[in-house]
Symmetry: C2
Subunit: 417 residues, 2 copies
């Protein structure tokens, strides 16, 4: 079964909203083994929508629309899809009641147009909207299937997961499963160079690298009759990858470094604290993003000024004067200082020049020191993480933060050896 995703909304064509719906739906359909060959975006315009729908059904069996289900005159999805299938719009009583219920709970009142949302194509399967007023619907006819979903991503996702996924199962005869290997400390080019032969020779499962800011993700994807079969098919490829780049893999099927770190710390009851200068709170924020972190993270400081570095972290005035705030020595004293202040097993620190201004010939933008300190252990890394004019302050701070999280993870593993 081939599918097209047809997203409707002038705000998408003006570029005011990024179309995240198409990517999300594509991932969901891939898991069902339904091939997506086209995404189309069209505005809230009757004629262009009609034409786009015609083109979509000329080349796909399943068309999923998002948007155009709202209460106003320019919401045209149901009208256009109904016309395509020669169906009438009829009042769907359960939808009307749900809409009344929705407004009963809200501080603002229903407008007559909201009732328009309760009209559905005759004979359609109606999908409940669990977080908004616009129901969705599906029509099957002559081997073609149209599914209409609301535009707001949260409404769309909830409806898809709870209503559409069970509905679509009947069209799927195989599953696509994937695993994500997360790498840190190796660039995308080198990863590709090392894995090039594997990448080109692997057909099912396939192997594809994706670069994220400072990280590399290797995705293995298999198509099989069952999930178990799919995962089994991946094993030999996983082994080969491990031989080539295993030393850089910090996690499998974990979303990111901070989740891998906090999970490890929680499992091994290791506490950590952060003292941040150039990252300004981003390390602390990243750790506390993860639920349950309070068991392993008593806190941290953002010591932006030298005064606070001395006061909170007992960095010595001499160190700051002789070596400067951006130095190996200051980084180490900060890491030791935060560890002592909080009593954590490990302390981590960042100090550097995040830019865009403040760089000098000796200490340019992108120079960052990351240090980790434990009871009988300390380690500091000097990083140059600016790659020229395209590197932003935000990228430098993100990369420095990833290095800090990675160093904490490495130090935590060392504690357990």
């Amino acid at each position: 079964m081939n599918a097209e995703i047809l997203c409707i909304g002038t705000e998408l064509l003006l570029g005011n909203v990024v179309n995240t719906n198409a990517a999300w739906l594509s991932q969901q359909l891939a898991r069902l083994g339904i091939n997506v060959f086209h995404h189309t975006v069209v505005g809230d315009n009757s004629q262009r929508l009609e034409e786009a729908l015609q083109i979509a059904f000329d080349r796909a069996d399943l068309v999923i629309t998002t948007g155009g289900l709202g209460p106003t005159y320019d919401d045209l999805s149901k009208e256009t899809v109904s016309n395509y299938f020669n169906r009438q719009l009829v009042l769907h009583q359960p939808s009307l009641e749900k809409i009344h219920e929705f407004f009963a709970k809200r501080p603002y009142s229903m407008v007559p147009n909201n009732e328009k949302q309760a009209y559905q194509p005759e004979g359609a399967v109606v999908f409940t909207n669990h977080s908004g007023t616009a129901p969705g619907a599906a029509i099957e006819q002559d081997g073609k299937v149209a599914i209409m979903l609301p535009g707001p991503p949260r409404e769309m996702k909830l409806m898809f997961e709870r209503e559409v996924l069970p509905y679509l199962q009947k069209f799927s005869d195989h599953v696509i499963v994937s695993r994500d290997l997360q790498l840190f400390g190796i660039g995308e080019s080198l990863t590709e160079a090392l894995l090039k032969d594997l990448m080109t020779s692997s057909v099912n499962p396939t192997l594809a690298p994706y670069a994220k800011e400072g990280e590399v993700n290797l995705r293995i994807t298999a198509s099989a009759a069952t999930q178990a079969e799919g995962y089994a098919m991946m094993e030999p490829l996983m082994e080969k990858i491990n031989k080539l780049v295993g030393q850089y893999i910090y996690g499998i099927d974990v979303p990111d470094l901070q989740t891998a770190l906090v999970t490890y710390l929680l499992e091994h009851h290791i506490t950590v604290s952060a003292a941040e200068s150039c990252t300004g709170g981003l390390v602390s924020k990243s750790i506390t993003d993860i639920p349950g972190c309070s068991d392993i993270y008593p806190g941290g400081v953002c010591s932006y000024s030298n005064e606070m570095k001395m006061k909170w972290l007992h960095v010595s005035p001499a160190t700051l004067q002789i070596h400067g705030a951006v130095s190996e020595e200051t980084a180490l004293e900060m890491a030791q200082g935060i560890r002592q202040a909080t009593g954590s097993d490990l302390g981590v620190s960042t100090t550097g020049v995040a830019g865009p201004d403040g760089g000098t010939a000796e200490k340019p933008v992108g120079l960052v020191y990351v240090a980790v300190a434990g009871e009988n252990y300390q380690h500091v890394e000097k990083l140059n993480i600016s790659y020229g004019e395209l590197t932003t302050r935000s990228m430098i701070r993100q990369r420095a933060t990833k290095h800090a999280l990675y160093q904490l993870l490495q130090a935590a593993k060392r504690l357990k050896r």
Copy 2:
């Protein structure tokens, strides 16, 4: 002139990458007064790409492609576009030299396939790639224009801004200008209710609201012969909006709350510090996102544990015992405490239940206190920022952070009155 954006890449159809290029290009074209009526995404497949290009030129004068300019066999943009216009691919010597230069600076070496990227359609205008190896190109013929850009967003944007924008000026006879009014403390529904008549009656300029996490953005867009004329056309509408929701507007044409805050603090030489519990560093991170913040932000603490609240902020043990960490009293002592620790003009604090676990009947997930303290001023706000099952930890932390930034901005303005 009408345009279609045709994005090429199987990774987009698998949902592995969100298509941000289409939205970004649409914004750029809107500024030139070029209407975008369709976005299409198609995979790295010769036949489907050819068909998509045909459909695009059937309905648009200008087609901008992204992706498919890489060195491998499945990069097909130039081949397909050349075929459409009946042109040959010929070696473009300056591009070949640039590619050689690019690799000369890199630690990895050039593969023969990279030379493929130096071949361009005969008679094309070639665009330099300022951060990668694939040049772009434009072909004009019979009233149709094709522009081919690389897929990686950074390469694409830089090429567009430096090379394509000057090239496209000749097709543009008017400009679209827009202004963004930023509102905080009012919901999207109420904003829409208050501005509904204005929104429906305004044609040029238009008025549209966009909700961002906890904020509302009002965008006014005018189409005119010149920028100055466009801005002048907006004035009467701006006045009407000001009368209706002026009290909620915290900034005009500023990207976000933290920029508005840091800009104001820098202008008025007011220093601030943050003491964070549930936001875990996000307030500090948000402030330090903005270059130049070191002049107004000496630092802050993430006092996640009660111990650190006492040690760093001198929150009294009695307060923690009687009222608990999540309380008005603790929030106020934290704000006062960080102010005293750093000597800042203003201290801000957050304490709450970010979830997903840890909520009780008395102190549910989403309960957050935000306090601000100055020399003769203190203010605390009790927030309930969970709206049910769809609210995530990340959303609660984001919203609490915005409230903290907004309260700081209000307190800073009060200092200046």
